[in-house]
């Protein structure tokens, strides 16, 4: 199989699709929505190297390097291989499989000529480790099957980039131990996007989920270019405890430059209640999987149909409050009667009501 959709259980095989694609497939299996797409497997890469003696050619070039650690030697090898690869298109079997998968993605999402990101998802034998994964490239807004084939091909060439070769040599990894799987994934067209913390970032309250979101891509929120809408959700029971309308003056329709938000949309909440609750549910799930509060980036895609338009983009552990030392309210050694005495003595009178998050940012 040269392609695997993210919802295919076989797509969770790291060895065959690389860490990136396997991660996306695992999230999909766990009910965590990612931008839809598929992986071009390591088998496709192997098939390419079997074409027209490419593998022998690269082997020869690399052997020619000997023990040289000169960057210029790596760059020379890069040029030679790149020139040879450029003359050798993908074999029909691989190209047809990718064309079919791309066509299916267009059909599934209801978007013709869907714009996709083409992302390297390199894989290797277990012994090699995964430290090389960050070395490869990603291209966004690739439109049409021909262009997809072109960029998959670029991924294959990128394995032998001079920079990569020198890195691999330093780590004593044989470039042939690496196989290039590729992720083809819809480019997110965000109607709205933002950031979600699975605790209150201002008070550290772990029973709240706080979201900030604005129109367009999340860049405007992360970059502080707008006052985003803020939503506070009770983690227990998933009730929306607060909605505060922001002032969303600009939005990024694409990643390049912001445009003005028309006046009538600036103070309209960019997320519906059901979207807020659905996102909070995802946040709760991620926190449970990772066993710690999370800092999550999300988007609401405007091209995908409602119900499958929420997209998780990034997830990392929250660090500020999670690492803070927490003490229980009362001195454990003092005993219950002392706690009660303190409580009824009005040292801190119970507030009549909580100003839920109203003081946040």
């Amino acid at each position: 199989m040269f392609t695997r959709e993210f919802n295919d259980p076989a797509c969770q095989d790291v060895r065959e699709v690389g860490g990136k694609a396997a991660g996306l497939a695992q999230m999909t299996a766990a009910g965590l929505p990612v931008a839809p797409g598929f992986a071009v497997t390591a088998a496709a890469y192997r098939a390419y190297l079997q074409t027209g003696g490419l593998q022998e050619f690269t082997r020869g070039v690399l052997d020619g390097l000997g023990t040289s650690r000169e960057q210029s030697a790596f760059d020379d090898a890069d040029r030679a291989i790149s020139e040879r690869f450029t003359r050798m298109p993908l074999p029909d079997s691989v190209a047809n499989a990718i064309r079919a998968a791309y066509a299916k993605l267009c059909e599934d999402t209801g978007v013709d000529n869907i714009a996709v990101a083409v992302r390297s998802s390199a894989t290797a034998e277990d012994s090699v480790g995964a430290s090389f994964a960050g070395e490869f490239e990603t291209w966004v807004d690739i439109v049409g099957a021909d262009a997809v084939l072109e960029y998959v091909h670029k991924c294959y060439v990128s394995v032998f980039a001079g920079r990569v070769l020198s890195y691999l040599a330093e780590k004593e990894i044989d470039p042939h131990a690496i196989e290039m799987a590729v992720v083809i994934q819809k480019t997110v067209r965000a109607r709205a996007a933002g950031v979600m913390f699975t605790l209150s970032p201002t008070s550290g309250d772990r029973s709240k989920i706080v979201m900030e979101a604005s129109w367009g891509l999340g860049l405007s929120v992360v970059g502080g270019e707008v006052t985003p809408d803020r939503f506070v959700v009770d983690k227990v029971g998933l009730g929306i405890a607060d909605r505060v309308v922001g002032n969303k003056i600009i939005e990024y329709r694409r990643g390049d430059a912001p445009v003005d938000v028309p006046a009538e949309r600036r103070d309209v909440l960019c997320l519906q209640d059901d979207e807020v609750v659905a996102l909070a549910t995802l946040g709760k799930k991620l926190e449970r999987i990772h066993q710690a509060p999370q800092d999550i980036e999300f988007a609401v895609d405007e091209e995908l149909p409602e119900g499958s338009n929420l997209i998780l983009l990034q997830c990392r552990p929250e660090t500020v409050w999670s690492n803070a030392d927490r003490k229980p309210a009362f001195d454990a050694t003092a005993g219950m009667m002392s706690w009660i005495t303190g409580s009824i003595s009005g040292a801190t009178a119970p507030p009549a009501h909580a100003h839920d998050a109203s003081h946040q940012r």
Binding site: P328, S343, A354
Partner: protein, 629 residues
């Protein structure tokens, strides 16, 4: 607390003093109706003017009749003894109490001397510790004491004075007149009432203390957690407090099952409905269940049973019938109105588990310990009203009315209602006069004197009742720290500030305590008494001095609730949350500021009421309300 005492009258830094307040027109001379110590006086002015007083409209939502002021004595004697003298709450003494223009005002008294606080801490920990350690056993004894007191009240009789004492006085050689029992029983009636109010406070503040401690733990662990979430973890799902309403639900379900909805939801008073039911087999089956539910579950005041003229469900069957009818309509519309105990309990456990899972090991241990404490004490908080305010008060007022009829029989009063224009000491005097004059064989010596006094007082009480109570008097504290004032009455620092600001004039916004989450817009229905409840229309927001738990069936119709007084732990708020209608409690002025028909938006989370349109024709609204009385 006294640092603003020097401010000049009229300054917004304080509320008026008692000695600056004026009686409403026609209410002049009210002071003479109540026991002297309940009335502000020259001798106590200095103390009164140094204190902060707020209206206890939760218990007395209208100006009270002279006899009914006994409740203010009993309640605040009870609070005082237990806070000040028995459990020695470290920083709180009792609540001082005054009647002003017929309304009851109370003032929390604190302890400030550190040495005295230390001394009280030691006593409190020992004494309260004993109760917490033996809670279930002592609570069991409490129920027995209450049942005993209620039984004792039931035995009270005021047999009419006949021409001659019964023969048994002779054949049993009793050696004293049966009429002595009249005076004795009056004293027993009063004494039992005071005892019951002692028992009421035997557990209440300790119960609040246990709950507040869990509450404060939660606020520390989850700074943004709502009161609603905390109380949901603690609240019982099958406590006595829900039983009366549960009975209505059951009877509604039975009505549906027996195909009686057309009769039960029909027009006409209780007599018409009950008569129609008695004509069919199914109807009789239903009536049997209805009778079965009555005792004790309809021994339930529509408010809190602090006034002689309040109806119970049993005395005014239109109240429970209306509730049943409302539920029956819901069932017919396919709604499930049952309270599935098991599921509610599972949901509660699930919420608790989810919160616990967010805690560290050390925190979770404390959470469990304090949740255990809160759950141990909470049933008392939820259930004691049934025993005290409903079951005991029902018998107390029944016996008071027996005594009133005794006085009418004796030719001393024109109508039974007249008795309640005398306070308990005046009544004692009059009663002695009646018995003594009967014994001697002369007409009662004070009949004309008291009838003239009652005639003078009748318009005074009417004038007092027609006026609303200002929410507070005196010097507001910088911070309201008394946890009980906050928890039970909703009197918080913020609220007091709102009252100060709002007392300057009308505004289009009222602030209160968030009682139950949700936002709703609609026309209001201002009801000053449970008797007006039938006026409430579907879709209206109920505005009342208080909302007693027994109004629950009305909550099925109202889309929201606004009250003048009450905090998140007032009995009303507990039940309101159970039924999931937005509520703002403790607004101070809602019944005075809002007019039936006015549109408002209430936000049960922020605790705000925004007036969306000016009052409609006020005169008409008042007439409508008056017409129903």
């Amino acid at each position: 607390m006294t640092d603003t005492a020097g401010t000049t009258p009229g300054s917004t830094a304080r509320f008026p003093f008692f000695n600056e307040s004026k009686a409403p027109a026609g209410g002049e001379g009210w002071e003479s109706m109540y026991p002297y110590y309940l009335v502000p006086s020259e001798e106590t002015t200095e103390h009164e003017n140094a204190q902060f007083w707020f209206a206890d409209t939760m218990h007395w939502s209208r100006g009270c009749h002279p006899f009914d002021s006994i409740g203010a004595e009993a309640v605040y004697l009870g609070v005082g003894t237990f806070s000040t003298r028995i459990f020695a709450l470290p920083v709180s003494l009792g609540l001082d109490v005054r009647v002003v223009n017929g309304y009851v005002y109370i003032s929390p008294l604190g302890v400030e001397d550190p040495a005295r606080i230390q001394e009280r801490v030691a006593i409190f920990q020992e004494r309260a510790g004993y109760y917490y350690a033996n809670w279930d056993e002592l609570y069991g004894k409490w129920k027995a004491k209450m049942e005993g007191a209620i039984d004792s009240l039931r035995t009270i009789e005021f047999p009419r004075l006949a021409e001659y004492d019964p023969a048994e006085v002779v054949t049993e050689a009793r050696g004293r007149s049966s009429a002595m029992a009249v005076i004795e029983n009056y004293h027993r009636l009063i004494d039992e009432f005071f005892s019951i109010w002692q028992y009421h406070f035997e557990f209440l503040n300790l119960g609040y203390g246990g709950y507040i401690t869990f509450f404060q733990f939660c606020k520390q662990a989850f700074p943004l957690i709502s009161e609603q979430s905390i109380s949901r973890m603690v609240a019982g799902v099958d406590v006595l407090a829900f039983r009366p309403d549960d009975e209505l639900r059951k009877l509604a379900a039975l009505s549906h099952e027996l195909d009686l909805n057309s009769i039960i939801t029909g027009d006409g008073g209780p007599e018409t409905i009950l008569a129609a039911l008695a004509e069919t087999t199914n109807g009789r089956t239903w009536l049997a269940a209805f009778e079965e539910a009555k005792d004790p579950w309809f021994n339930y005041f529509a408010e809190y049973g602090f006034t002689h003229d309040q109806e119970t469900w049993a005395s005014d069957l239109s109240i429970p019938l209306q509730g049943i009818s409302r539920y029956a309509v819901k069932i017919a519309a396919g709604e499930d109105i049952s309270r599935p105990i098991e599921r509610l309990r599972d949901e509660r456990d699930e919420i608790v588990d989810e919160y616990r899972a967010l805690l560290t090991g050390d925190e979770a241990r404390q959470f469990d310990e304090l949740l255990g404490l809160a759950r141990k004490v909470f049933p008392y908080i939820e259930e004691h009203n049934i025993y005290v305010e409903h079951w005991s008060h029902k018998v107390f007022w029944e016996k008071a009315w027996d005594l009133a009829r005794f006085l009418v029989d004796a030719g001393f009063l024109d109508t039974a209602e007249d008795m309640f224009y005398l306070n308990r000491f005046e009544l004692d005097t009059a009663l002695f006069d009646v018995v003594d004059s009967w014994a001697i064989g002369v007409p009662a010596r004070g009949k004309k004197r008291w009838q003239a006094e009652i005639a003078r007082r009748r318009p005074i009480v009417a004038a007092l009742q027609a006026a609303s109570a200002p929410p507070a008097y005196g010097i507001p504290p910088q911070q309201v720290t008394d946890p009980f004032a906050v928890m039970n009455y909703g009197v918080t620092t913020e609220r007091v500030h709102d009252w100060l600001g709002a007392s300057d004039g009308a505004t289009d916004k009222l602030n209160g305590i968030p009682g139950s989450l949700g936002i709703v817009e609609g026309p209001v229905r201002v009801l000053r008494s449970e008797k007006d409840l039938p006026l409430l229309q579907p879709g209206e927001i109920l505005v009342a001095p208080i909302t007693a738990p027994s109004w629950a069936a009305a909550f099925a119709v109202a889309t929201g609730v606004i009250t003048d007084i009450g905090g998140m732990m007032c009995h009303a708020a507990i039940v309101c949350r159970e039924y999931g209608i937005p509520a703002v409690v403790g607004t101070g002025f809602a019944t005075a500021r809002l007019t039936t028909g006015q549109r408002v938006r209430i936000d049960g989370k922020a605790g705000t009421v925004v007036v969306l349109e000016p009052a409609p024709d006020t005169t008409r609204a008042t007439e409508t309300a008056a017409a129903v009385r």
